[in-house]
Symmetry: C2
Subunit: 245 residues, 2 copies
């Protein structure tokens, strides 16, 4: 059985492959839409959907009346998608390992129950981990999950390498969006001890709420050694203009 692949994705991938293979110089234009229709034997709608996908990812810039310009994808490709902290580190070439410090079922602390909008009577699973990049401590991570969603996670958590991968493979939970709140602090004694740095070392604090279809799934608290990690985010475009009747 062969997977059914939409034709717009085929066109999208063909064009993307050409761009990544440097078949266009930066500043060159993609063939106009009528040409792409003929070349791939699809309708205009399909061509446009493919090109709009590329534009959304920063590969090209579409301009009415002018054409579709190919951008320098090497400088434009940033992480604007949901990935876990450990996946990001791996993508940067580090060998990442996790040491699970504790797995407990607890009543949600006030702040957590508020952010996950869960009553304080519903139990949550709290997982604390030390993240090491190339064997060197880089962050202390604490995750809170709904106990009902992840039965038996206490047994699986100690050996996992990525929480998101575990959620996908074992519980069929696919995170599709997340909000990060980023601030900074000086490390307290406890955190500094775990990270093996001096008390007062600058810490990047990331609190993340993950969602699936608009429903909160997980709350995470990361305390990252600022000198060893940089958070990057790419944002694009302003919202569509409002109407003024």
């Amino acid at each position: 059985m062969t997977a059914k692949i939409p034709r717009y994705l085929i066109v999208y991938n063909a064009l993307k492959k050409q761009i990544e293979a440097d078949q266009y110089q930066t500043g060159d234009r993609l063939p106009p839409e009528p040409e792409l229709e003929k070349k791939y034997n699809v309708s205009r709608t399909t061509v446009r959907k493919a090109v709009e996908l590329l534009a959304g990812e920063g590969f090209v810039h579409i301009k009415q009346g002018r054409g579709t310009e190919v951008l320098d994808f090497k400088t434009t490709q940033k992480l604007q998608y949901v990935t876990s902290f450990s996946e990001t580190l791996r993508g940067q070439g580090f060998t990442v390992s996790q040491r699970v410090l504790s797995v407990e079922t607890v009543k949600p602390p006030g702040k957590i129950s508020e952010m996950l909008s869960v009553s304080e009577s519903e139990m949550v699973v709290k997982i604390s981990r030390l993240t090491l990049a190339n064997e060197v401590p880089i962050a202390v991570m604490t995750n809170y999950l709904f106990w009902e969603m992840v039965p038996d996670i206490e047994e699986k958590a100690p050996t996992m390498q990525s929480l998101y991968q575990l959620l996908e493979s074992e519980y069929n939970i696919f995170i599709d969006s997340a909000t990060d709140y980023i601030s900074a602090a000086n490390s307290d004694r406890n955190t500094a001890g775990l990270l093996k740095v001096e008390e007062g070392t600058p810490i990047l604090v990331v609190r993340r709420i993950s969602y699936r279809g608009g429903e909160p799934i997980e709350f995470a608290d990361l305390q990252i050694i600022a000198e060893r990690y940089e958070y990057s985010v790419h944002t694009k475009e302003r919202p569509p203009k409002e109407l003024n009747f």
Copy 2:
């Protein structure tokens, strides 16, 4: 003369207005596409474009075979678009003021010329500002712009309230994407003095490169008092699946 407004935007705004007016309970479904076609007397393509816009902004969640679910927009509306630091603060209800500390034309420091990919012989304009929220210092901001793009900005900068607004109104430069690199540090003596905090106070460091159509326009360095500001970002969806031929 009346502005020509696309029909999909009319449908989009009508639906958005209904959602914001709480005409749907969280979890309710939007009318199915065929109904929306009749109601607004447009084709299916137009309905879909409107609904996809809403989904992209987190107002609804589209699921094949199930329907289009209305989400709680109050908790979903985050800043995933390009806005300036001062615009964000104003959006949070602060009265924001800027004190321009200096405006100079300089040769780009090595790091800047590298990040903006500009030769060190091309001059850049360096603007340093102190940002105050409700009259209290909150950040020191340094912007670097191509001198050729912003002639006479030395005269205009001292009175501006938002750099992005100045770029748009005076130079017709519209930023459409940006990448932020976020880290943390302890304030040094100079920064601490400007911000009127103790040396060593945690600082959130944001370095931003702004683009227009893939071309770098501006580099910014923000040193923000961590206790007074939280950076938030909403990310969504993973990239389309790759094809494996």
